[in-house]
Amino acid sequence: MRIWLADISFALRQLRKAPGFALLAVLTLGLGIGANTAMFTVLENVLLRPLPYAGASRLVAISPVGGSMRGATSWLNYVDIRGGMKNVAEAGGYSDDFAVVQTRDTATSVVAPHLTSNLLTMLGAKPLLGRTFTPQEGLRGGPQVVLLSEGVWRQEFHSDPSIVGKVVHISGEPRTVVGVMPTSFHFPENTGSGIDTAVWLPLQPTSEMLKARGYDFLQILAKLHPGVSLARGQTQLNAASQQIGSLNKNYRGLKFTLMPYSNQVVGNIRPVLIGLSAALLLVLLIACANVANLLLARAIGRQQEFAVRVALGAGRYRLLRQVMTEGAVLSALGCMAGLALAWLAIVGVHRLPPNTIPRMQTIHIRWTVVLALAGIATLTTMLSSLLPALLVSDTDPNATLQASSRGVGTRSARSKLTMWLVSAEIALSTLLLVGTGLLARTMWNLEHAWLGFHTTRVTTYQVTPPNASGFSGMQVVQPGAQAPTSVNTLAYEPVLERLRHTPGFEDAAFTTLLPLGGSNIRTSYQVVGHKVSELNAPEALITAVSSNYGRVMETPMMQGRMIDGDDAADTTPVAVINEALANGEFRGRNPIGQRLDLGGKETGILVPPTIVGVIANERMNGLQSPVAPMIMLPAAQVPTSSLYYEALLNTQVNFVVKTRGNIPVAKEAREVFHQVAPGFALDSFQTMSKVLDHTTFHQRLGLELTASFAGLAILMVVAGLFGVLSQYVGFRKREIGIRLALGASRQDVLRMVFRQSMLMAGYGLLCGLAISLLASRLIRSFLFGVQTFDWMTYAGVLVVLLAVSVAAAVWPARQAVSVDPMATLRMD
């Protein structure tokens, strides 16, 4: 113990004697460790830590294979599956939805998931106040109740302690508050930060839900009974779906699959996170190589000291331990620096736009991370000081003490080793740079891709009617009943008229499906005269647009005309289709004049609209997925008695305003709504270029992170190259002196140093490029418009690293040239 303390104090003294060395090593390690700790924190929270629900590992998501609306199915299917799986699991359901919370003077659009009444009990969720839903509240015509989130309770209801039992207005309906859920409750996961201010409503089946097996809106979540395997669950699920198929001829062949809910939550971020962790591990390895090199250089410089120690009787083990202690002290200091950096990084993670990473709100540094940090520190100690320690403990005192009389320099494995380490660093950073290059090219391609519309000077925002019914409340108005007046006539048309005359505004329109907005409302359709069976009916995105929509977005027409102001409720129903649908469905035949059957009596669109135009493809779901076929209807022609009215119009719609300059629109837009249509909730104001940024967010984040990792790596490589070359020159001062004495010119000496640098860079590059060729396949799915073997990227990386290796050699080369042959030779 004493000796151990002595070792530590000696190590600290050594470090203090060479503060530059210590600082460089600690910083390098700190950067590497910090970045890795931050990454591990994210990984741990997102991928490893179980979801905060009772029996979270047994929760499974059940979704139809090849289903239409993102894993959703219908109420009827849900009921059958629940029944069929009773022996192996308990099933519940939920639908993502939204609602407007009204208080005396505000209307706020909030996330409003509808939950089957058993779901919260199944999840083991405990309310902060009151209770969760009762079975009665999940029945058709049951009590109208609501569960508030802590956020809504605090913001909208001023933390009213007696809120439970009070009646509040949600989307125009009075509902009794039965409870408040704590902020730690985030169900459904992946809803983003909106979940912090959500309300939860009990799902009460409507007549439509009880009738239509094709009305897909519900996500099924099940909890397997203890001891039931996924495979057994799937078998039971197959049986249940077969049962559905055999009883309903239109659903023969219907299949469902089940996967752990955590997988669904984590979804496609997993490869991103794993890729980034791999990139970061490279950075850490580079850092370790650098520290190893620094330690090695010092070990060589202290060869004499070690030889003397051995001559005085120090054992191998003592020497080994001394160097290892120094490495451990450095690692420990590096960890402290790293922890500080990691903490900063996590603060940064929380500043990211909502929902960038699943479960982002809950990311914190936990004890497991500290444990991992200790692991990383041990790893770095081993990686960075084991090699120098082994070499040092191998000191042959006789050879070393006599070395001075045995010619200059030694053909040492040690100096070779430092060079190999730097080559390895260069190889690793080549990998990072190639990744950065490919992502940068991807980013450029994404930003310059044709979207089908122009984003310049277009601002969008969401508008929600006060009595929006949402997807969970859709109904066809029965024939004979009085159809209500359309919100389009009542509010949207007059609002648009006012907006178009607002100073600074050039034009305004709305659409129910915002390009790049990521929403995904589909319908099945049939071309009149081309009947196919119902299960095989083709699907297309469906949207209702106001007049001038094409003009605001500047989307060109390929054929025919765009929907305009003359398409009114009392004129012939028309539709515009996009190129994708025209090409897919009509294949060269002229679509103009054809009519689309959108469901007739079942959906309430009684007269099939006539196709009057083909519009260019607009990117709806980002740039990497192909453009889906789409049908556009004039908003004025959507009957209020149809399902489409509830699904498209009497719900959130997206306004788009073209301004004359880059001016904010929120104030004017709110003003107009306030006057024309009070009670409507307006939110999510953003420019279309922001929307575009959002869709390329993963690539950009990936690019920015890999770029900063690569930058870090380059810095470390420069430090590494610089260190090794300075050391190379330092050890060869005498040799250089002799060479100069023998008539070497300055250029000869310069060439010698640069050649050394180039050699290291060359080997590193060669290996790095070869590995990159193999590894770049791993990021193929993130690339857009660029091959994994992109010679421009590879050439760029080559140039950058060669430039780096030249730059790092400049100072050592100058040192070498300024060697005074007299002075070095005098040191006989």
């Binding site: 070395a403 009389s405 045995r406 010619g407 200059v408 320099g409 030694t410 053909r411 005498r734 040799e735 002799i738 060479r739 100069l740 004495a741 023998l742 008539g743 070497a744 010119s745 300055r746 000869d748 042959p821 007299m822 030779l825 005098r826 006989d828």
Partner: protein, 240 residues
């Protein structure tokens, strides 16, 4: 072409070192002539300026003042690269501590000065290296590294390296200083043979036995060249 001019002609050479505001007059007015084919031994007490003079003769250093004609050319004011070139072609160095490069083989060490000459064919280099190694009797150790050789052997390789470029003059600063008497003897024998074959040699030595090998002895005292008698007088004066 017979050149009657002395190989080296030095007049009024001074060298002053300035360190920490202290002036050291290492050389103060040295006159020296060395003819072609001469074997000159230089001696004197420690610190009298022998090494300094040798390195100025070898163009490793520049004089503070004075004249230096090498082969009839003024060389005292040349720049670094010109001096490098002349050093490479005209001067062969032999150091007290051999100064072989540890990472290079014997062959590569000897080849070194030739690689700094532009336009010499590889075959010519090879021939010369071979030849000079044979002259010092080290051809059989061509592939060895300096650390695998004894001190005497290392010094013979250093001599071969000095010879390889066929310089006008060999400068040796205490070439036997790190050797035992037997190995020292062998190196001196080697130098005598080279002289017999026509080489010009200027050697610094403390050992009167080795100085006796030379055609001419130069005594340096306190930065000046002095005669034998003067030296004795000066030394006697110190002893008193």
């Amino acid at each position: 072409m017979e050149n009657t001019q002395p190989l080296i002609e030095i007049e009024g050479l001074t060298k002053v070192f300035y360190t920490d505001e202290i002036e050291t007059h290492a050389l103060s007015g040295v006159h020296l002539k060395i003819e072609r084919g001469e074997y000159v031994a230089m001696s004197g007490p420690s610190g009298c300026g022998k090494s300094t003079l040798l390195s100025i003769v070898g163009l490793l250093d520049t004089p503070t003042a004075g004249k230096y004609l090498l082969n009839g050319n003024e060389v005292e004011n040349l720049d670094f690269s010109q001096r490098s070139r002349i050093r490479n072609q005209e001067i062969g160095f032999i150091f007290q501590s051999f100064n072989l490069i540890g990472d290079l083989t014997v062959y590569e060490n000897v080849e070194l000065p030739l690689t700094y000459r532009s336009g010499m064919a590889a075959s010519e280099r090879k021939r010369r290296v071979q030849e000079s190694l044979e002259r010092v009797g080290m051809a059989h150790r061509m592939r060895h590294y300096p650390s695998q050789l004894s001190g005497g052997q290392q010094q013979r390789v250093a001599v071969a390296r000095a010879l390889a470029g066929s310089p006008s003059i060999l400068l040796a600063d205490e070439p036997t200083g790190n050797l035992d008497s037997k190995n020292g003897e062998a190196v001196m024998e080697l130098l005598r043979n080279l002289h017999r074959e026509g080489s010009t040699i200027c050697m610094v030595t403390h050992d009167p036995r080795f100085a006796a090998h030379a055609d001419r002895n130069i005594h340096l005292f306190d930065g000046k060249v002095v005669s034998e008698e003067e030296l004795q007088q000066q030394l006697a004066a110190i002893q008193v």
